[in-house]
C-alpha cells in the first residue's frame, strides 16, 4: 500500500486510492483463472470442422537439429494451445476465439508475402516475438532466447510439407507518400471505392453489413477489425504495417489482398498507401495507457446536455480495458467489448459521466442472429449453452455499497454479501438504467428509493455513447453512496454485447479504478501568490535600497 495515492490529486482528498494494487491482484486473478480454466476433465476437444487437414502429410522428412530443439521449446510452451501435431487443437484451444493457429496447412495471417504464399522465416519469427494483440497469443521475445525462437520457427515449419524446398520471397513495396489532409481525404475516398466499409463499417469499428456473417478458414466466427484501435492490429499499427496487410491480405481470415486491384488499374499503389494512412488516422496517435484514477473535472456553467454534446470533446478521456469474466460460472472467454472510454465532469453538485465503447451491434439486431448462432457453436459448453436469442447490450458501473475512509473495496467481481456494491446498470433494450445493490455477480436488488440517475444513450456506427448524470449527494446514503468534491471513490465497469451471446454473467469486466472529484479552487490560491510576490518584491526593494544607502554613505565618507 506504500505507493498508493500518488495520483490522488490534491491535498484535499481525505482518502487515498489503492487502485494500483487491486488492478494487479485482479489481473493476476484473471490470469490464474485463464491458466486453470483448460484443466477441468470436462473440457471438450476444440470444435473443428469435420474435415481434417489432408494435403501433404506433415513431418515426412527428418527434423533438422534446429527443429528438434524447437520441438522441446514447443512442447513446453506452445503445445497446450497449438496441440501436439500443430493442428491448433491443444487442450486450451476450445476456450479461445480466435482459435490458436493450425500450423498443418501453413496458412499464416501475418506475412510479407503475397496472398496464399508461405510466410518467410522472419514473418513467423515476428509473430512469435510480438504475439498477436487481441488474442491469447503472447509476445515471446522477453521469455525465450533468440535461438529458442529461431528453433521454434524451424519446428513450426515441419508441421507442413508445403515448406519443403520453398523459398518464399516478400512482396516488394515502395515507400510511404508524405502525409497530408488531402492524402487522408483520398484515403477515405479509396476506402469507399474498395468497399472496406462492407466489413469494417463506415466509421471503421468493424460493424459493416457483412460483419455478422464473417467466418475464418476453420468456420469460426471472426470479427472485422475495429480500425479505431490500432494497438490491437495483429500485424502492427504503423502505416507500413497496415499497407502490407492490404497488399498481402490476412490468410485464413476474410481479409483479402488488394494487390490485384492495383495490377488491374482500379486504384494506384499510392492510393492504397492513402488507405493505410487513413486507417491509421482513425486511431489515437499513441496507444492509450490505462490510468488508475479518473478525474471528474469541475466545470463552471452547465454540464453537457447529452452524449453528443460537443462540450465532451474537450474533456479528458480515460481508457479502461476490459477482460472476459472467466472466474465465476458461466465464464466468458470471447468478450466482444475490449474497453470503455470514460469521461467525467461535475459542477460542484452534479456528476456527468460519458461512456463510449465499440460495440458492433445495437442489440438485439436481427442482422446479428447469424453471429449469435455461430458463437453458440464456437464456445465451449462447459458452462452451459448460450441463449438462443439476443439480449440487450449492457454497461454497468460499480461503486462500493458503502464508502469507507480507508477505501476498503468489495470483491471486484460484483461484490459479495458482506460487502455489497452499488450498481448503475444500463441496458440498450429497454433503454434504461437500474440502480441498486449487488451482492455478487448476478445477485442484484433494485433500489427502493427510486431513480437518482438520469441517462441518455446514442448508438452511432458501431459505438455506444451513454451519458449518466446524478447529483453528487445521494438522497439516501444508506442505499447509494454520496460523492463530494475532493473525494476519491472506487469505480469499476463491465460491458456486455447481447448479439455476442453476452448477458449479466457473460461479459467483460474491469478491475477497480478510482474516480476523483475535483475541488473548486479556493480564492486564496489566487491571492496568496500575489501577496507573496508583492512581499518578495518589497523586501527586495528594501534590501537594495539599504545596500545602496550604505554604499553611498561609504563613498561619501571616503570622499570627505
Amino acid at each position: 500500500m506504500t505507493e498508493t495515492g500518488r495520483r490522488g490529486g490534491g491535498s484535499g482528498n481525505r482518502s487515498r486510492p489503492r487502485g494500483a494494487v487491486s488492478i494487479r491482484v485482479a489481473t493476476a486473478g484473471a490470469c490464474v483463472a485463464l491458466l486453470l480454466a483448460p484443466m477441468p476433465p470436462t473440457v471438450p476437444p476444440a470444435r473443428r470442422p469435420a474435415t481434417p487437414p489432408t494435403g501433404p502429410s506433415p513431418q515426412q522428412s527428418p527434423l533438422s537439429e534446429s527443429a528438434q530443439r524447437g520441438k522441446v521449446v514447443y512442447d513446453k510452451w506452445c503445445l497446450e494451445c497449438h496441440g501436439e501435431t500443430g493442428a491448433g487443437d491443444g487442450a486450451a484451444a476450445a476456450f479461445m476465439l480466435p482459435r490458436p493457429r493450425d500450423f498443418t496447412g501453413a496458412v499464416y495471417q501475418i506475412r510479407t508475402t503475397a496472398s496464399g504464399e508461405l510466410p518467410t522465416d522472419a514473418d513467423i519469427r515476428r509473430v512469435i516475438d510480438n504475439g498477436m494483440p487481441g488474442t491469447a497469443m503472447p509476445a515471446w521475445s522477453g521469455k525465450l532466447s533468440e535461438t529458442e525462437r529461431n528453433d521454434l520457427v524451424a519446428y513450426l515449419k515441419s508441421f507442413s510439407t508445403f515448406f519443403e524446398g520453398a523459398a518464399p520471397t516478400p512482396l516488394e513495396i515502395g515507400s510511404e507518400p508524405g502525409r497530408s489532409a488531402d492524402g487522408l481525404a483520398e484515403g477515405r475516398a479509396t476506402y469507399e471505392t474498395l468497399e472496406c466499409f462492407k466489413c469494417h463499417g463506415d466509421a471503421g469499428r468493424g460493424d459493416g453489413p457483412s460483419a455478422p456473417t464473417l467466418r475464418d478458414d476453420w468456420d469460426m466466427p471472426i470479427r472485422a477489425a475495429d480500425l479505431t484501435s490500432s494497438w490491437t492490429f495483429n500485424g502492427g499499427s504503423g502505416v507500413e504495417d497496415i499497407y502490407r496487410r492490404l497488399r498481402t491480405g490476412l490468410d485464413g481470415t476474410p481479409m483479402p489482398s488488394f494487390s490485384d486491384v492495383i495490377e488491374a488499374g482500379v486504384i494506384t499503389d499510392a492510393q492504397l498507401w492513402r488507405v493505410a494512412q487513413y486507417v491509421r488516422s482513425l486511431s489515437p496517435e499513441r496507444p492509450p495507457a490505462p490510468r488508475e484514477v479518473i478525474r471528474a473535472h469541475l466545470v463552471s456553467g452547465s454540464l453537457p446536455a447529452g452524449p453528443a454534446d460537443s462540450a465532451w470533446n474537450g474533456v479528458e478521456k480515460y481508457y479502461i480495458p476490459l477482460v472476459g469474466q472467466i472466474i465465476q460460472k458461466p465464464r466468458w472467454f470471447a468478450p466482444a467489448v475490449e474497453a470503455v472510454w470514460v469521461q467525467a465532469v461535475h459542477d460542484g453538485s452534479t456528476l456527468a459521466l460519458r461512456l463510449s465503447w465499440t460495440d458492433r451491434s445495437n442489440s438485439p439486431d436481427p442482422a446479428w442472429d447469424e453471429w449469435l448462432a455461430a458463437m453458440a457453436t464456437a464456445v465451449p459448453e462447459v458452462d452451459g449453452s448460450l441463449a438462443a436469442t439476443q439480449g440487450p447490450d449492457r454497461l454497468t458501473i460499480q461503486f462500493p455499497g458503502r464508502l469507507s475512509d480507508d477505501l476498503e473495496r468489495p470483491y471486484f467481481l460484483g461484490g459479495d454479501r458482506q460487502r455489497p456494491v452499488h450498481l448503475w446498470r444500463w441496458t440498450s433494450a429497454p433503454d434504461a438504467v437500474e440502480e441498486g445493490a449487488g451482492s455478487g455477480l448476478g445477485r442484484f436488488t433494485a433500489r427502493a428509493g427510486g431513480h437518482q440517475v438520469t441517462h441518455q444513450s446514442r448508438y452511432d456506427r458501431g459505438e455506444w455513447q451513454v451519458q449518466l448524470t446524478r447529483s453528487l449527494a445521494s438522497s439516501d446514503s444508506a442505499e447509494a453512496p454520496s460523492f463530494a468534491p475532493g473525494v476519491l471513490v472506487p469505480i469499476a465497469f463491465s460491458a456486455a454485447d447481447g448479439s455476442n451471446g453476452e448477458d449479466e454473467m457473460r461479459g467483460a469486466v474491469s478491475a477497480w479504478y478510482g474516480i476523483y472529484f475535483d475541488v473548486p479552487t479556493p480564492p486564496s490560491v489566487f491571492v496568496i501568490p500575489v501577496v507573496a510576490a508583492g512581499l518578495t518584491a518589497g523586501l527586495g526593494v528594501v534590501v537594495v535600497w539599504r545596500a545602496q544607502r550604505r554604499a553611498s554613505g561609504r563613498s561619501t565618507s571616503e570622499g570627505s
Binding site: E117, P256, V266
Partner: protein, 235 residues
C-alpha cells in the same frame, strides 16, 4: 504391272492405316446424363437485401439445381484407369467462373493442374474470392470493380476446393483441380461429355457438393462413346 500392284497396295495400306488413324481421332469417350429422382432437398434461404445491386437475384442458395429431373453442377471425371502418359498438357484456354447477381456462375467449375482459372466480377460491387484448399495454396483476393478479371492456377489435383465470398456470406462455389483433362461439369440439362479418351476401362466418378459421389465402371470402345448415366436421390 507389278509396280502398279505395289503402288496400289501401298495406297490401300496407307489408306487403311489412315482410316485406322482416323478412327483414333473419331469420337471416343463417355457421354451421359445425371438425373435426380424424388424431391430435391430444399435449398437454404438467402437474403440479399443488404446488397441493393444484387437484391432479387435469388432468394435461395442454388446448392441443388434440378430441372426436368436433370441435375446440374455435377462434376464427372475419370477417377482411375488412365494409361500412363494419357494426361495431356494443360489447356491454355482458361476455365471461367463469374460472379453475377452475387452468385457464382457456374456453381461448380473444374480446371486441370496449371490450367488458368479466370475469375470475373460482373457485379458493380466488391467481391472477395477466397479459395480454401488443403493440398494447394489458397488465396484471398478482392474485386471491387465490375469487369475485373483475375487469373489463378493450381499445382495439385484436389476435389473439391471451396470458393467463397466473405462480403456476401451466402456465396459458395466448388472448384475441382484434376491432373488430366478428362472431366466435365453438368449444365442445367444434366448432360456431360468427356472426349478424347483412349479405349480402356475406367472408373468414372460423379460428384455433387451436397448429394455426394457415385462411381461407375465404364469401358470406352475404340470408337464411339460409352454411356454412363448417374442417378442421385435425396440423401
Amino acid at each position: 504391272m507389278k509396280q502398279l500392284a505395289l503402288a496400289g497396295l501401298t495406297v490401300i495400306t496407307v489408306g487403311a492405316f489412315g482410316w485406322y488413324r482416323g478412327g483414333d481421332d473419331a469420337p471416343a469417350g463417355i457421354t451421359g446424363t445425371v438425373k435426380f429422382t424424388g424431391t430435391p432437398p430444399a435449398n437454404p434461404k438467402i437474403d440479399m437485401s443488404e446488397e441493393a445491386a444484387c437484391a432479387g437475384s435469388a432468394t435461395t442458395d442454388p446448392v441443388v439445381t434440378v430441372s426436368n429431373g436433370n441435375l446440374a453442377d455435377v462434376l464427372v471425371y475419370v477417377k482411375s484407369g488412365l494409361p500412363p502418359g494419357a494426361a495431356a498438357a494443360a489447356p491454355t484456354a482458361p476455365a471461367v467462373i463469374d460472379q453475377h447477381g452475387c452468385l457464382y456462375r457456374p456453381r461448380t467449375v473444374a480446371v486441370m493442374v496449371k490450367q488458368p482459372l479466370e475469375i470475373r466480377n460482373s457485379d458493380p460491387v466488391l467481391h472477395n474470392i477466397k479459395a480454401v484448399p488443403k493440398k494447394n495454396r489458397g488465396f484471398n483476393i478482392s474485386q471491387p470493380r465490375e469487369g475485373m478479371k483475375t487469373t489463378r492456377t493450381f499445382t495439385t489435383a484436389e476435389v473439391p476446393i471451396p470458393l467463397q465470398c466473405n462480403v456476401h456470406g451466402w456465396m459458395h462455389a466448388n472448384l475441382a483441380v484434376l491432373d488430366h483433362p478428362y472431366f466435365a461439369v453438368t449444365g442445367p440439362d444434366g448432360s456431360f461429355s468427356i472426349q478424347g479418351l483412349p479405349p480402356g476401362n475406367y472408373v468414372l466418378e460423379a460428384w455433387h457438393e451436397k448429394l455426394g459421389a457415385q462411381t461407375m465402371n465404364v469401358t470406352v470402345p475404340a470408337t464411339g462413346n460409352a454411356t454412363a448415366n448417374f442417378t442421385f436421390s435425396a440423401k
